[in-house]
């Protein structure tokens, strides 16, 4: 099963590859570029928020060029129309083109077969298709920036009627989303079948690394939650292109003109279908991150994860419950008492497994012999940050406080604490941790630490003031950062703090990018250590030294024990591989 005997052409090997590792890396590189783009849009927006209607420095002429192309008026500043485009595309790109592809497409693809001892994914060609469908979706989204009227501008939530009457960019957004959803469906089916069918001998369910569990639950969420959004997306497309009225009620008057449609539709139907996906989606964003964390924590505390079974049950329960909380995003749409009681209750219930997971991670530290490696620093930073993200969800999930906090910056602060110093930190931890597996080279630890500490500081400088502004009642999605509203006056100075934090956060990524490039270009040691972290799981212990050939394993692994057997009393080393007899 080692390297295939004939030489594969460059195209087969690196571009249209069916090897899950190559596809994983393709996903990883593409998604990192999209994350960078999403972040860049936000850096421009942060200028407008801090210094409304003044010309953007450095990239002002680029902004003006794009605005001209889209037909918006700009003197190098970011006009409101383009701000809305950037805002909607920041959210879309970050979630659907950045985080999900990297955390499921890249990490899931690369690691799941290796961790369960499989030679590849169950359907390698489907896997290749899922990447290329994602790629096309990304291209469609990118192209839409250059249309007259710009890309989509109705928020990543695309609420009709606004989105139904928006410029052409919204049509491209919907088409792009159909591709992205299809890609996710192909990918997640593949992961489910792979985990169910291709586990190595002895790899029973309760011996799976928690990362694999997290991917399994995540894939189920994607498979079950995306189809309703895909259907809704097609309805919206029909509303826009064929004049149907799925989401348009009768009697709309837009800009003084009666909208000539048959009407009779419901704008709230979209919200239900959208959030039926989008709430599970937030667990798609965070669960695989938790999976990464479990691996990194066990390895760097040199002891088993505390409460492995609680983790597995909590993640499964979380996945199940995540289908029953969607309308907590809709408390203020005029829903009845019964509905709001139901959704508040389910929301409080779902907070329990999240608390249990966080507790398990923190208790895992107790009694450990903690190595402060870069991946571990990111994992440790994750805990209080995810804590803030989770805790700030409580007042939003209860309908009474939500009256004040709904659609304010408190919401933006809340979910960014979950996804930015949450998921993104987990992604960084994963990159530093598995980089030597992918390339045979260790990333520089000093640069890694600089990267961590500065990211940690500026993430907080960026997201904490959002909570303050939100409590003050400042709405989200305001293209002047609140300058027009009386109640926001006392909070405007925070916009400047946040913007500088955002730009400095970008600076803090330079050591990371430099580290990546420098390490990749460095000469490879002739025989790199296949298991530099002294880890227990199969991907470290049973593979050859990197790069791994197609097929992964010289000899099919046989598993004898659980995933986190570190510091087992009586053993000679402090790690006992899963495959050790």
């Amino acid at each position: 099963m080692s390297d295939s005997h004939h030489e594969e052409s460059f195209w087969r090997k690196y571009i249209f590859s069916t090897d899950h590792k190559v596809i994983g890396i393709q996903y990883g590189i593409t998604a990192l570029l999209f994350l960078f783009l999403g972040f860049s849009l936000m850096m421009v927006m942060r200028w407008q928020l801090a210094y409304p209607d003044t010309a953007v420095p450095i990239v002002g002429s680029l902004v003006k060029w794009l605005a001209d192309l889209n037909g918006f008026a700009s003197d190098g500043n970011l006009p409101a129309d383009l701000y809305n485009v950037f805002g909607a595309m920041h959210g879309t790109i970050m979630i659907f083109l950045g985080v999900v592809p990297i955390i499921v497409g890249a990490f899931g693809n690369y690691l799941v077969p290796l961790q369960i001892g499989a030679p590849d994914m169950a359907f390698p060609k489907l896997n290749m298709a899922s990447y290329w469908v994602y790629f096309v979706g990304g291209v469609v989204m990118l192209v839409s920036f250059f249309l007259p009227g710009g890309a989509a501008n109705s928020g990543w939530t695309a609420y009709p009627p606004l989105s139904d009457i928006a410029t052409t960019g919204q049509t491209y957004w919907l088409i792009g989303m159909v591709f992205l959803i299809t890609s996710s469906l192909l990918g997640s089916m593949n992961i489910i079948v792979t985990i169910v069918q291709l586990r190595a001998e002895g790899m029973t369910w309760m011996r799976l690394p928690f990362f694999v569990w997290s991917q399994l639950v995540t894939s189920f969420l994607l498979v079950l939650a995306f189809p309703p959004l895909e259907a809704a997306g097609i309805f919206q497309l029909m509303d826009r292109v064929f004049g149907t009225s799925f989401f348009l009620p009768s009697g709309l008057v837009i800009g003084g003109e009666i909208l000539k449609v048959s009407g009779g539709g419901s704008p709230l139907l979209w919200q239900h279908l959208f959030w039926f996906l989008a709430h599970p989606e937030v667990y798609v964003l965070i669960l695989p991150g938790m999976g990464i964390l479990a691996e990194v924590i066990a390895n760097n505390t040199r002891k088993p994860i505390w409460g492995y079974k609680s983790l597995v049950y909590s993640a499964t329960f979380l996945g199940f419950m995540s289908f029953l909380v969607w309308a907590h995003h809709m408390f203020l749409t005029g829903m009845g008492q019964g509905m709001s009681v139901f959704f508040q209750t389910t929301t409080m219930i779902i907070s329990v497994p999240s608390v249990i997971i966080l507790t398990c991670f923190m208790l895992s530290l107790w009694g450990g012999s903690i190595r402060f490696t870069t991946p571990m620093l990111f994992a440790l930073g994750w805990m209080p940050m995810f804590g803030i993200g989770g805790l700030t969800g409580l007042p939003l999930g209860l309908s009474t406080p939500d009256i004040h906090l709904h659609d304010t910056y408190y919401v933006i602060g809340h979910f960014h604490y979950v996804v930015a110093p949450g998921t993104i930190f987990a992604i960084f931890a994963g990159i530093y941790y598995w980089f030597p597996k992918m390339t045979g080279k260790m990333l520089n630890e000093t640069l890694g630490k600089v990267h961590f500490y500065f990211s940690f500081i500026f993430m907080n400088g960026l997201f904490w003031p959002m909570l303050i502004q939100g409590l003050g009642g400042v709405s989200r999605r305001l293209s002047d950062g609140g300058a027009s509203y009386a109640h926001a006056q006392e909070f405007l100075h925070w916009n400047v703090v946040m913007s500088y934090s955002a730009w400095l956060l970008a600076v803090a990524q330079i050591p990371f990018i430099y580290n990546l490039i420098k390490t990749l270009l460095a000469d490879k040691s002739p025989n790199p250590d296949p298991n530099p972290w002294n880890a227990t799981t199969v991907e470290w212990t049973d593979t050859t030294s990197p790069p791994l050939g197609h097929g992964n394993f010289e000899k099919t692994p046989v598993v004898h024990r659980g995933p986190y057997e570190y510091s087992v009393p009586g053993e000679s080393t402090d790690f006992t591989p899963q495959t050790q007899n």
Binding site: P79, A80, N84, N153, S154, L162, I165, P249, G251, L252, V253, I254, G255, G256, P267, L268, P304, W306, L332, T333, G334, Q337, S340, Q344, T345, M348, V352, T359, M362, L363, S364, L365, W366, G367, G368, S369, M383, P384, G387, T392, L394, L398, S399, T400, P401, I403, H404, L405, H406, D407, L471, G472, G473, S475, S479, S484, A486, Q489, E490, L492
Partner: protein, 275 residues
């Protein structure tokens, strides 16, 4: 006790409260933040202790078994009990009080608010206390933005754009709808917010407790000086969403009534223009 512990909300930077129910929301926000602060301090302290105590330098050999005690379980039960209290003890009853203890019809000022890109149309029933009909075919952005039928009940109706006047200490019931896209009607100081959904009319109510004059006094010397109550749009509704604001004036009853009289005179003047 609910009040006193809830009063932590004073330190959370909420806007000055100017409605009769606002303190309930504030207390609730305060209570949730107690739970959040306690948990966060607990976690933080624990994390700091563990990373020092179990640093590989201080503890070169890891303990396979780790935590054996049950304290964490008790803490989890504690969280569950606290959350159950927030839910069952506070949020559900407060919300039902805020949404369903509908005011007695006779003493309530009814006002229709029709949102549109990017303005708030405020519709008062006039002397007869009855709202006139509306017809989308009559909509004219210049002269009749809500398409009001100007006879029958509508003859004396008052319609303003971005100017909402209300009497202090009297219950107000707002009937909210939208002409075009989804907006959200929020007055942060009144602790009210309600999405405006086209095709639906959603009622909600509150009682302002501070006149604009008193409020302006209170904010003297702050960065907000001179800027009174506003309706703020809280739901993205297009390119001018960021400045879709309406001005709210809370007056004493006399001033409010004389404002109504003044507005009624405008209707007559307008009609004179037409004929």
């Amino acid at each position: 006790m609910i009040e006193s512990l809830g009063s932590i909300s004073k330190y959370l930077g909420l806007p000055i409260n100017s409605s009769s129910h606002g303190h309930m929301i504030d207390n609730m926000i305060g209570w949730v933040h107690w739970l959040m602060i306690l948990l966060f301090i607990g976690w933080g302290a624990y994390l700091i202790i563990t990373v020092i105590k179990f640093n590989s330098k201080n503890n070169p050999k890891a303990n396979y078994n780790g935590v054996q005690s049950h304290y964490s379980q008790y803490a989890e039960y504690g969280v569950i009990v606290f959350e159950a209290f927030l839910l069952i003890g506070l949020s559900i009853p407060l919300y039902s009080q805020l949404k369903t203890s509908l005011p007695n019809n006779n003493e309530v000022h009814h006002v229709r608010v029709i949102a549109q890109q990017f303005a708030w149309n405020i519709h008062y029933p006039g002397d007869d206390g009855k709202f006139g009909d509306t017809d989308i075919n009559l909509v004219d952005e210049e002269s009749n933005p809500i398409g009001l039928v100007r006879d029958g009940n509508g003859a004396d109706d008052i319609v303003t754009i971005n100017q909402m006047h209300l009497p202090v200490n009297q219950q107000v019931m707002i009937h909210l709808s939208s002409k075009d896209v989804i907006h959200s009607f929020g007055i942060p100081e009144m602790r009210i917010k309600q999405d405006a959904i086209p095709g639906m009319t959603i009622p909600f109510f509150f009682t302002p407790t501070m006149t604009t004059d008193d409020f302006l006094q209170k904010i003297n010397g702050t960065k907000r000086e001179g800027k009174g109550y506003e309706i703020a749009c809280a739901q993205l509704c297009g390119n001018s969403h960021y400045r879709m604001k309406g001005y709210v004036t809370i007056d004493t009853e006399e001033k409010y009534n004389s404002w109504l009289v003044e507005q009624a005179e405008y209707i007559e003047e307008e009609e004179d223009d037409d004929w």
